[in-house]
Amino acid sequence: MDFYIGLLQIFGIHTLLGLSAYLLILTGQVSMAQAGFFAIGAYMAGICTAMWGWHIVPALALGGLLSGVLALLIGFPALRVKGMMLVIATLAFSEVVRLFFFNFNYTVLRDGIPIGPIGAEGFRRIRYFPENGWTTIEVSLFMGLIVLLVGGALWWADRSRLGAVVRAVGEDELAAQSVGINLTTIKVAAMTLGGVIAGIGGGLYAHMTTHVEHLNFGILLATFAIAYPILGGMGSVFGTLAAVVFVQGFLVEGLRFLGDWRNLLFGLLIMLAMNVRIKQLGDVRLRNLLRGLFGLRRRSHAGA
């Protein structure tokens, strides 16, 4: 049981990571910077709780805030480029962040033990949850609440005028500009918000694993961040959630009984999924299902 509840934590963290990229892809930007924001959130939140003795909530907030500020700062130069160039530029940013933490040393003594990030050796004992008596269920509920808040807010915003504007930018920048939408504002805002969400996800990650090191935040993580929303289709936040469950629940944990085949199938199934166009993995179907379940009907339009 503990295992399944623990798995929910992994789902939650990866959903936040995926949602941060989802937001950006909606505006037409494929960003590999999410790994960098995730790393900043992870280290910052870890420093707050493990070194400064903060409560988890302000620690996560500060981690998210710092990531957000950085996202805002790199948003402007990064947005001068598009498509593949943006992918590489943001990848460069993520690598710079990773290499920064690779060179980052900052420790304090706690109970006679040096604690804090030590360059390549990483940052251990981020044990806020077990030390404060949080059970696995409580941690999972806490994370679930955060995911619910973030996901719910995004879902709601997605259906508002803002969502339509964001999608308009993603679909056709020239047309969006021509109807008076300020591209820079929308894109930088998405980048910033994406940074905040990834930062919070990173903070939770650090507290789930209790140990972070620069190698955790490499290209593979950045790839996963964009893989979730793409795999889930861009219809709504549920697609991303479904993709996370598909990857982390099915491909990683579910196929464990296959032994070595699991690793071979991992890449192969992702490739196949794109070919058979389960474009909206769970998306349309899941949405319809949920609509059916909760008796929600297609909203005619805002307020009307």
């Binding site: 623990g6 251990r124 077990p130």
Partner: protein
């Protein structure tokens, strides 16, 4: 059929029947042990080897009668091996899964970056009810980064103490070559293990052995161009070159050294993890003569048997993987000593007994001799100095045996890890 043969047949049959009846009545119980390690990516060989040794060891014990449990019945080991992909989250998931199931103890992981978080989610201090960490014993065979078992009182390691090994090695080098004065270091800077070993072990121990460290070259895990670093090395012209890196870059550096004609006058020292098949596979010619302390070499009958059995199970016996054999034997001994029951309803109690039993140990038997166990749940294992010679690892010197073997070619060294 005459009378005699009839009796013989009857006797055999009744013995068989008795045997069956005995097996049935003794209510043989399953002791579930989990192995976990990386079986994918560049570190795949670690997991493959660890699994092979684990299966070889448990089958060996099962075949020779199993383990006597607390209530006198016989237990047989069952091993399940889990792939961590060297990924922190997967490691955590696996350990959570093991803890929720009825596994007695886990052996692993192979990667230090998985050991860190996995130990981190265990209860830090035993009996500390305010700490909600998992109460599940883990007995590591592979992850070698210094000082890991400190993290939790539920974590134990049976990995060689690199500190003790390099301390002895540098002292030995100083004695052997009184004219040798200088050491040049090479370090794979972005990998926790290799970095720790250079800065906290090799460097300090060589200084203590009265060597002067005249410089250090740094590179990264997947670097491929070492021209600049090796030129520094050449300029320093040190007597000893000590390289703390894993096989891939070790080979890259050794190849660049050959290109630039750099050869340390006295000795070339390598990282423990490089005393494996991988180095020989990648650059046997350039690695010729490299000296590496290792906690495993088939220098005695038992060790040889382990190496053979491991090969049969599809793995290769080296300093990382063979620790699993010792772990299984230690686990068996603790089960007997602590009267572990291995019943479904006693799982948590059994785990606690295992933990306490392991914590109590002051020394254990190992393949290379007695292993001392320290207060912080680490091991100090006997070791030998191995060197690469004509595509195989041979024992250069065994510090445990006073009668030192010669350093030069005439040593009757035992070849081990033959090149595939």
């Amino acid at each position: 059929m005459n009378r005699k043969t009839w009796i013989a047949v009857m006797a055999v049959a009744s013995m068989l029947a008795l045997g069956l009846a005995d097996a049935a009545t003794a209510a043989e119980r399953i002791i579930k042990i989990a192995g976990f390690g990386a079986k994918s990516g560049v570190v795949r060989s670690f997991g493959v080897n660890a699994e092979a040794v684990l299966r070889a060891a448990t089958d060996d014990i099962n075949n020779s009668g199993g383990v006597r449990l607390g209530d006198g019945s016989i237990g047989k080991f069952q091993v399940d091996f889990f792939d961590t992909r060297c990924n922190a989250e997967e490691g955590i998931s696996i350990v959570r899964r093991l803890a929720s199931a009825d596994y007695l103890i886990a052996v692993g992981p192979t990667c230090s970056n998985v050991a860190e978080p996995v130990f981190g989610i265990l209860q830090a201090k035993v009996g500390d009810s305010s700490d909600t960490g998992l109460q599940f014993p883990i007995f590591t065979d592979g992850a070698i980064k210094g000082g890991l078992a400190k993290i939790s009182e539920w974590s134990f390691r049976n990995v060689p103490s690199e500190d003790a090994m390099y301390k002895a090695l540098f002292v030995w080098l100083a004695e052997k070559h009184p004219d040798a004065k200088t050491v040049f270091g090479g370090v794979e800077e972005d990998f926790a293990h290799s970095r720790f070993t250079w800065y906290s072990v090799m460097k300090e121990r060589s200084v203590q052995a009265k060597f002067e460290v005249v410089g250090e070259a740094k590179w990264l895990l997947n670097d491929t161009n070492f021209t600049t670093q090796v030129r520094e090395m050449k300029k320093a012209n040190a007597d000893i070159v000590s390289i703390s890196s894993h096989p891939f870059t070790t080979c890259g550096v050794l190849k660049e050294m050959a290109r630039q004609r750099v050869k340390p006058r006295v000795a070339l020292v390598g990282l423990t993890s490089s005393s494996s098949m991988e180095t020989l596979n990648g650059c046997a010619a350039q690695a010729e003569g490299i000296i590496i302390p290792t906690s495993f070499a088939p220098t005695n009958a038992k060790a040889q048997r382990v190496a053979e059995l491991t090969a049969k199970y599809g793995g290769s016996a080296d300093l990382h993987s063979t620790a699993a054999w010792e772990n299984v034997e230690i686990i068996r001994d603790v089960i007997v000593a602590e009267k572990v029951m291995a019943k479904p309803e006693t799982v948590q109690q059994d785990r606690r007994r295992m933990r306490d039993g392991l914590a109590k140990l002051k020394s254990t038997a190992g393949l290379m001799g007695t292993i001392a166990r320290t207060e912080d749940r680490e091991a100090v294992k006997p070791f030998v100095y191995a060197t690469a010679k004509e595509g195989a690892w041979v024992v250069l010197y065994d510090p445990a045996k006073a009668s030192a073997l010669r350093t030069t070619g005439e040593t009757p060294a035992l070849a081990f890890l033959p090149q595939r």
